[in-house]
Symmetry: C2
């Protein structure tokens, strides 16, 4: 079967996470991937300084892992698609946020910067590696999400109803 050069196809990726609070600050999460049909069990916790028991990594560790690995996955996947062979890839990422506290109010947070250092072992030219990274950025779900302002919908359960909050 031939695929024409400009044929456009789309696909949807939906991930559902259901979490319940347990212990002091621990959360137990069931994640369902609509892509693979697989279910994953994950857990987060906080350290004692935040009232937790350190029984699992904190939420931000999951975020940092997602940011770094999503790009790595695309680099490896697109290496084949673009025929730019690579032998190995390592990525280091830094996530930097700031919190601000006024008086005794709860703190407010803001992102300061996100940086990725990419180390690729390959005989490909620098130009080809840049092309590969460029494609990986456009294909990385996390990077495309962070690159735009997203509205998050929130609903609160009130009796048997769900109310926008």
């Amino acid at each position: 079967m031939q695929v024409s050069d400009d044929e456009v196809k789309t696909f949807e990726v939906v991930i559902d996470a259901t979490a319940k609070a347990v212990g002091k600050m621990r959360n137990e999460v069931t994640v369902y991937s609509g892509v693979s049909g697989n279910t994953f069990q994950m857990a987060t916790d906080e350290g004692p300084v935040h009232g937790g028991d350190s029984s699992a990594p904190p939420p931000l560790a999951y975020f940092a892992t997602a940011m770094v690995t999503c790009l790595m996955t695309q680099i490896r996947a697109f290496s084949k698609r673009l025929r730019i062979p690579i032998n190995d890839v390592s990525v280091s990422g830094r996530c930097h946020w700031r919190g601000t506290v006024v008086g005794r109010n709860p703190y407010e947070t803001e992102p300061i910067g996100f940086d990725l250092d990419i180390d690729i072992d390959s005989d490909a030219s620098l130009e080809d590696l840049k092309r590969l990274i460029g494609a990986a950025k456009k294909g990385c779900f996390i990077e495309q999400t962070l690159g735009q302002a997203n509205e998050i919908g929130h609903r609160l359960k009130v009796g048997e109803d769900w109310v926008e909050v």
Copy 2:
């Protein structure tokens, strides 16, 4: 010691993740939290349909877990701070992306929507619960990140140098 009502303090939160590719699509990640000084080992993989071995959850499962649990942590932490007692909290989140493929090019992705359904067991008034959720949104690192357009810095190792790409 008294804290004045309008004293402003800031704090920095830095999370470092270093990941190496192993196996077909597996990534092994060491996450260091500059907050707690703790190190966490995490791993991602893809299912066979994406060339992986399903040896760990995919990157997007980590993202969904981070999104849901970061807000839950703030709801529990700020419940104490704001003196709005809660007995329990559960949150379900949905992350929705779309991929677009033109011809045989690598796919490109875009976020479609992020939604959180919050179920709080509490005797507090609806007004107080809305106030608690409002504070949790402002304190949630992930939510504040998703709510704005972020630039991600990328550097590629070329010989012994790091080059912006």
